[in-house]
């Protein structure tokens, strides 16, 4: 695996524009990349782009511009003989990915279809590395190592949840695993992630903690990429070379708004180079390709070489949330992606390369079923928060509730502890 990481040369990324280069040279570079990368991997996407008005130019560049990474991966696959060392993953890694993706399918803002992204990225991280997510955060929390029980209990609003039932499905946090949320409004997590990355740099350069190489990953969707916070943070992250990876889970739909109807240039990855960082487009339905891209981006951030923008083209198999009637998406489009189920794809890869037997994967499926069942059972049996919890955690220092008429801090009032104080 180390071999594949190193052979995955940085020059396969679209490099940011070097300020010392002339504009002509830049053009050449960009053009060169487009000419080289003549493949595309998402048939349906192409079809959609063709529908876009006055943009034959765009649709062309989309199909031509698909990023080098998938090409690298493909080459590797073609050249791979049966020896394990040339494969993208080892047996153990494959089983781990399979298990993590298997765990990721449940919950409220469903993640089905996008499992390859969370798994492909987050399983590469250390515990000290941070992850910032959106309202589809339960999966990122699971991938980062938050126990399924705690995640499920949080969904149930129970005290045993990772946030004591105070956060809920869209606000998952884990200090222990450095899951920084859990942000339910589009885009607001990106600045927070940028701040976490700033802390890494600050610790290294100001506090002189030379070994602090922690990276932060910010996950968000295609809809977010039209929000100012996205652009503002790309700018700041590149400006200060922060160790952050911006991971766009482009599932083509922002609830009912098609990516193509909302975005002037639908190729999000291109916005990386515009801000001076590499932009990468990867097949988000293929966990192995995602993983290769993630490795390079993480290594880059750890080295102190700054941020990377990765656009993962993916698809959610279900509506936006349990409340979404999902009436707008073309059944043909859905079927197309359904055939590209990332879990099935990994399964197939592992079989074809003799990395796992049917029995082994069945065993994992069973393990996951049991884990989920056990988590549900645990959550179900866990206690609801009691009233005394109500006023806890509003302030880290509860003196923030102030001084009452009796001259005592309100938080010293027994009613405060009971949760019945009027604050």
């Amino acid at each position: 695996m180390a071999a594949s990481a190193s052979s995955f040369a940085a020059n396969k990324f679209l490099q940011p524009i070097n300020s010392t280069r002339s504009i002509d040279n830049n053009k050449k570079t960009l053009l060169g990349n487009q000419l080289k990368d003549s493949s595309f991997f998402l048939g349906s996407a192409k079809k959609l782009y063709m529908k876009k008005p006055f943009s034959s130019q765009n649709s062309k560049s989309r199909s031509n511009g698909v990023f080098a990474v998938s090409e690298v991966v493909k080459d590797k696959k073609l050249n791979a003989d049966s020896s394990l060392s040339n494969l993208l993953i080892t047996k153990d890694e494959g089983l781990e990915l399979y298990e993590d993706m298997g765990e990721n399918v449940w919950f409220v803002h469903l993640y089905n279809g996008q499992e390859a992204v969370s798994t492909g990225f987050i399983r590469l991280l250390k515990k000290e590395d941070s992850v910032v997510s959106t309202y589809r955060d339960h999966v990122h929390a699971l991938s980062k190592g938050v126990p399924a029980r705690q995640v499920m209990s949080e969904l149930f609003g129970k005290t045993t949840g990772c946030c004591r039932g105070q956060g809920g499905s869209m606000h998952m946090f884990s200090k222990e695993h450095n899951v920084l949320g859990g942000f339910a409004f589009i885009g607001e997590g990106i600045p927070v992630a940028t701040g976490a990355a700033f802390t890494s740099k600050y610790r290294r350069e100001v506090l002189k903690e030379a070994d602090c190489d922690h990276v932060t990953m910010a996950f968000f969707g295609d809809g977010t990429c039209n929000n100012g916070q996205f652009f503002e943070c790309l700018n700041m992250a590149a400006l200060w070379k922060l160790p952050i990876i911006f991971v766009v889970e482009n599932n083509l739909w922002a609830i009912g708004m098609s990516h193509l109807r909302s975005t002037s240039d639908p190729e999000i990855w291109k916005k990386g180079p515009a801000f001076g960082m590499p932009g990468v487009h990867v097949d988000g339905m293929d966990v192995l390709k995602v993983r290769e891209v993630a490795k390079e981006a993480v290594a880059r951030a750890r080295r102190g070489d700054g941020p990377t923008l990765v656009e993962c083209e993916t698809y959610r198999f279900r509506g936006h949330s349990l409340a979404d009637p999902d009436e707008l998406r073309d059944p043909a489009e859905k079927n197309h992606y359904a055939t590209r189920d990332p879990i099935s794809a990994l399964k197939k890869y592992m079989f074809e390369n003799n990395l796992a037997s049917e029995a082994e994967l069945k065993a994992i499926d069973k393990k996951i079923d049991e884990l989920v069942e056990e988590a549900v059972e645990f959550a179900d049996e866990s206690p609801h928060p009691v009233r005394s919890q109500l006023l806890e955690n509003v302030f880290a220092d509860p003196k923030g509730f102030g001084i009452g008429p009796d001259g005592r801090y309100r938080c010293e009032d027994p009613k405060f502890t009971e949760g019945t104080a009027h604050v």
Partner: protein, 411 residues
Amino acid sequence: MAAIIQGIGAATALTSANSLDTKKSFFSNSRRSLSVGAERKGRTFVVRSDGHLSYGLNGRGRRAEQLITNAVAAKEDTAAASTSSKPGHELLLFEALREGLEEEMDRDPAVCVMGEDVGHYGGSYKVTKGLAPKYGDLRVLDTPIAENSFTGMGIGAAMTGLRPVIEGMNMGFLLLAFNQISNNCGMLHYTSGGQFKIPVVIRGPGGVGRQLGAEHSQRLESYFQSIPGIQMVACSTPYNAKGLMKAAIRSDNPVILFEHVLLYNLKERIPDEEYVLNLEEAEMVRPGEHVTILTYSRMRYHVMQAAKTLVNKGYDPEVIDIRSLKPFDLHTIGNSVKKTHRVLIVEECMRTGGIGASLTAAITENFHDYLDAPIICLSSQDVPTPYAGTLENWTVVQPAQIVTAVEQLCQ
């Protein structure tokens, strides 16, 4: 964002900041209007605060029973004439803020500053002047003009161990960061089940200045006050500016520190010894018997101006600078109400849903039986702050109105 306009607004401040030696201030500006006169006189009312030294190094650790004595300050309106032979050192309010900030940065390497023009430029009102050369560009971070994002970045940095002081070049610009302040600053500690702390200080110049126009003359307390999980304090003297700045930085809670554009050049002698104030505590400015006047920030000086007239007319008003805008120090306020039985609130905040409205509600709720007259609340008018000096003066409460209100209350 509106930084260019702000630059014009800040011009007065810069002029005075650059001419420290000549001790010029806003108040010598030729565009001076009625209230400026009040301001100038107001300077002499700055309360000598050396008596507060007993707060010790960390006011937050104090026990409740000490509150009474600590809330009491000198009664006499001693002119702040100072000579070098007196203890302490004399400085302007913006310098006091800087001194507090600098001391905390020296004390804790996790304390950092971020905002527009806080570094090389030294801050639009020079509160961070000289800090970037001393601590480096990363600790005193000049950000792009992206309020929502750099505020969010401060929050992310706070979650991961830093203690950022986020400057809004003008408090009004922080409206662009309202989502980060409200959803993330205010809620993350709670939604994370107490796992993450957000020890940030959000500060900057606000209030109605001198013809800065509507957008730069905002009274934002009302907007921020109902955000759960956030504390708000307003400074009004160099002494409390420094003490509150230090307390806000040390607090594990997110704190919004309101500074007033027209108070940066107030001068006061403050102790050489280190001190930290209590974020939750009100400040007794002038003990009295007849009526309780609750105020904060710049209106403190309008109140003290009016108090002079009132004293001449035979009234003995008690003036309290509530300082903590959220939560209220109901102990100090309550004790005063129980003594005077009459309350006048004077604020610069918007009338609708403002601090005064909340204060009125809190007093009615807690001390209704002690009141001999309905509470009067003088707020600024619910209009966008007008540009014209005459209209601007009519927007905020003037000393004459305060005198009339007290006379009415004490009938």
